[in-house]
Symmetry: C2
C-alpha cells in the first residue's frame, strides 16, 4: 500500500513457514462432503475434548469472550502470550506495531502440501488442508467504528497482502476473510481481530452466488450486482452510505435485520485487485456502516465477510466482489434451519432509514 | 390414528376458519427473493417495534424463555392466556386435554387466499401468505425424552393431521414442521411445543436435497437416502438407535456436533403417509435420540425438523423424508456465515458412540 501508512511506517514481511509445530495443536481436520447436496463440512477435532464440553454452559469460547478487559489479553501482546509465531507486522516509524498477522493457534484447517482424499462406503472426504490466520489491530478497545479511516485501510491492506500470498499455494482454491464482533457472533477473544481461512474447496454460498451471477448475465447481459448497485443508488430508499467508489445499502431481501452490503460501484470480480485509493474509500464506508449499526442497535454483535471470486485459476468475470455485514439480531431456530429461509422483523427500508440517521461523520 | 390414543381418548376436530382477527397481529409479511441466488427471505414486521428493540439485550424472546416456571405460562392454559382461538384438541376420555393445536399468535405468515406478487425495480417479492400453528403437549415440564412413547406418537399424529388439512390449501406448496428446545435454539416459550408453517414457496434447503436426490438417482439408479440408511445400518459406527422401521444415526458429514438424522428404512417420499404403526416406531426412535442428546450433552438446546416432499402436486418419488436433529453446540460465526461450511468439533463416530452409551431404555 503506497499511501500514508507505508510512508509513516515500516512494514516487515516474513514468509510463513510450513510450520510443523502447528500440527500439534490440531489432531485432525477433515473436509467431509454431504452426498445429497454436495456441501462440505469441516470436522476439526483439535479444540474440544469430552462430550460434556459441548454443552452450552461449558463453552470455552464464551468464557474467553467474557474476558473483555485488556489484562492478560492474548492479543495485546501476542508474542508474550504464545499466540504469535511467524508474523506479518505493520509498524509505525517509532518501531511500535500497529497491526499483526499470525497463524490461528487453534486452526480449523491444518497446513500441508496437498489435500488427500478419504473414502468410506458411499461417502467422500479429504484432509482439511488450509491456512487459518488472525489479523489483529493494536488497540484492545478500539473496534472498526472507533478507528481512523487510515487505520481501517491498514486492516484492508493486510487482507490483500495475505490474500495475494496465500492464493499462490497449490492447495488453496478459496480464501475467506471475516470479522466477528461480540460473543454471540462467535468472537472468542474480545480484542478486535479479523480472520482469514484459505481452503481447498469452493464454499456452497459462493458457488450459489457465482452460478446466480452467471445465470443473470446469460439472460440479461448484465452483472446482477451492478444492477443492484445502480438501482439502489438511484432509488435511495435502502442506502446507508456511499462515496464515489463504494455503496452501502440494506439489501432488498435482507436475511437479518439491519444487514448491510458494501459493493464497489464499478464492476470488479476480484477483491485482491483493490487499489490503495479504493482501500481508503472502502475503509470510509466500512467504518461508517459499522458505526451506524453500533449506534442504531446498541452495539449488537455482528459478522462481516468478503465474498470474492475463487482463486482456483478459473474465469469469474461475471462475479462482483462485495462485503456483507450481518448483525446478530435474531436466533436461527427450527424454521430457518429447516428451510434456509430467514425471518427478518424489520423492512430493509426502515432499517436503512434508522442507520442513516445514526451516521457518524467523524 | 387408530391405536391406543384414540381408543382411550376422544378427538375433537374443528376446521380452522380463515380468521380475520389474526391479521390484526401482523402488520405485514412479505416473501422477498434474492435476485442472485433465488433464495427467499421473510420480512415479517408484526412483532418488533423500534430499532432499539433489535439490540441483543432487549430480546423479547429471551425474556419469555427465561420464564421457565409454569406460573403464568401462556401454553399451560392457552385459552385463558388468549393464545388459543380455533383449536384442534386431543383429549383423554375424562375430557381433559392432552394436546392442542392453534394458530401462532405472532405468525410469520399471514393467512389469505392467494399470494400476491410485488415488484420493485429488478426485485421480486410476494405477500407472505401462509399458516403458522403451534402444537402444544399438556405437561409444562415434560419434554419429548420425558414423555411416554404413546404420548410422542400423539404429537406425530397431530403433525400428520394438520399436514393433511393444510396441504389442501391452494396457496400452500410446502409445509415445515419443527421443534425448538431451549432459549438458544429459539424457543420463546419454555412450555414444550412444536410449530408448523405452511408456505407458498419451496425452501432452498429442500430444493437442494430434492435436486441432489434426483441427481443421485439419475447416475446410480438408487435413492441416496436408502443408500445411507443401508450403509449406516451395516457399518454400525454412527448408529444411535434403530428399530425395524427407523434408523437414527450421526450423519457422516455432520454439520453440528451430535447431529442426528432419523430415517425410515423403507423408501418413502412423503411424511404425511406415515401409518399408525410407524408413528409408534418413530416415537420410540425420536424419544431415544433426544434422550441420548439430553444425557450426553447436558440438556443442550436443539432443533429438530421434518424434511419431506413439497405438496405442490409434483412428483417427488426420488426423495426420502426424514428428521434432522441439530443440537446448538456451536455459534455460527463469520466463517460459517460466509461460506455455508460448518465446523464441527467432534467426529460423528465419536458422537454416536457417546450417544449410544447414554440411551435410556425406559
Amino acid at each position: 500500500m503506497q499511501i500514508n501508512i507505508s510512508q509513516e511506517g515500516e512494514k516487515i514481511k516474513k514468509e510463513f513457514e510450513e510450520a510443523p509445530a502447528e500440527k500439534k495443536q490440531i489432531i485432525d481436520s477433515e473436509l467431509r462432503q454431504d452426498i445429497v447436496t454436495g456441501d462440505w463440512v469441516v470436522i476439526a477435532t483439535g479444540r474440544a475434548k469430552r462430550p460434556e464440553d459441548f454443552s452450552r454452559a461449558e463453552y470455552s469460547t464464551q468464557k474467553l469472550a467474557d474476558h473483555l478487559d485488556s489484562d492478560g489479553c492474548l492479543f495485546c501482546d501476542p508474542k508474550e502470550s504464545g499466540q504469535e509465531k511467524d508474523v506479518l507486522i505493520y509498524s509505525k516509524s517509532d518501531g511500535d506495531w500497529t497491526l499483526k498477522v499470525f497463524p490461528n493457534k487453534y486452526p480449523a484447517f491444518s497446513r500441508g502440501k496437498v489435500p488427500r482424499s478419504l473414502e468410506e462406503g458411499p461417502y467422500f472426504a479429504m484432509t482439511g488442508t488450509g491456512y487459518h490466520e488472525v489479523i489483529v489491530s493494536r488497540d484492545h478497545f478500539k473496534h472498526i467504528p472507533d478507528l481512523e479511516i487510515i487505520e481501517v485501510a491498514e486492516i484492508i491492506d493486510a487482507f490483500q497482502d495475505r490474500y495475494l500470498e496465500l492464493m499462490k499455494k497449490k492447495s488453496v482454491n478459496y480464501i475467506t476473510i471475516f470479522h466477528n464482533f461480540g460473543k454471540e457472533a462467535g468472537a472468542s477473544i474480545a480484542h478486535p481481530h479479523s480472520q482469514l481461512i484459505a481452503i481447498p474447496v469452493i464454499s456452497p454460498y459462493i458457488k450459489q452466488e457465482l452460478d446466480g451471477a452467471e445465470l443473470y448475465y446469460k439472460s440479461l447481459r448484465k452483472c446482477v450486482y451492478c444492477e443492484m448497485a445502480e438501482y439502489e443508488g438511484m432509488a435511495k430508499k435502502r442506502i446507508v452510505f456511499e462515496n464515489e467508489t463504494f455503496i452501502a445499502f440494506c439489501p432488498f431481501a435482507s436475511r437479518s435485520a439491519f444487514e448491510i452490503w458494501i459493493m464497489p460501484k464499478k464492476h470488479n470480480s476480484y477483491f485482491e485487485r483493490i487499489t490503495d485509493e479504493e482501500k481508503i474509500k472502502l475503509a470510509e464506508v466500512l467504518k461508517n456502516s459499522l458505526g451506524a449499526i453500533k449506534k442504531t442497535i446498541n452495539n449488537t454483535p455482528y459478522n462481516f465477510y468478503i465474498h470474492t471470486s475463487p482463486c482456483d485459476g478459473k474465469d469469474y468475470r461475471r462475479y462482483h466482489w462485495h462485503i456483507e455485514i450481518l448483525p446478530h439480531t435474531s436466533t436461527w431456530a427450527g424454521f430457518e434451519l429447516e428451510t434456509g429461509i430467514e425471518i427478518s422483523m424489520i423492512q430493509p427500508e426502515e432499517a436503512a432509514r434508522a442507520l442513516r440517521e445514526n451516521l457518524n461523520n467523524n
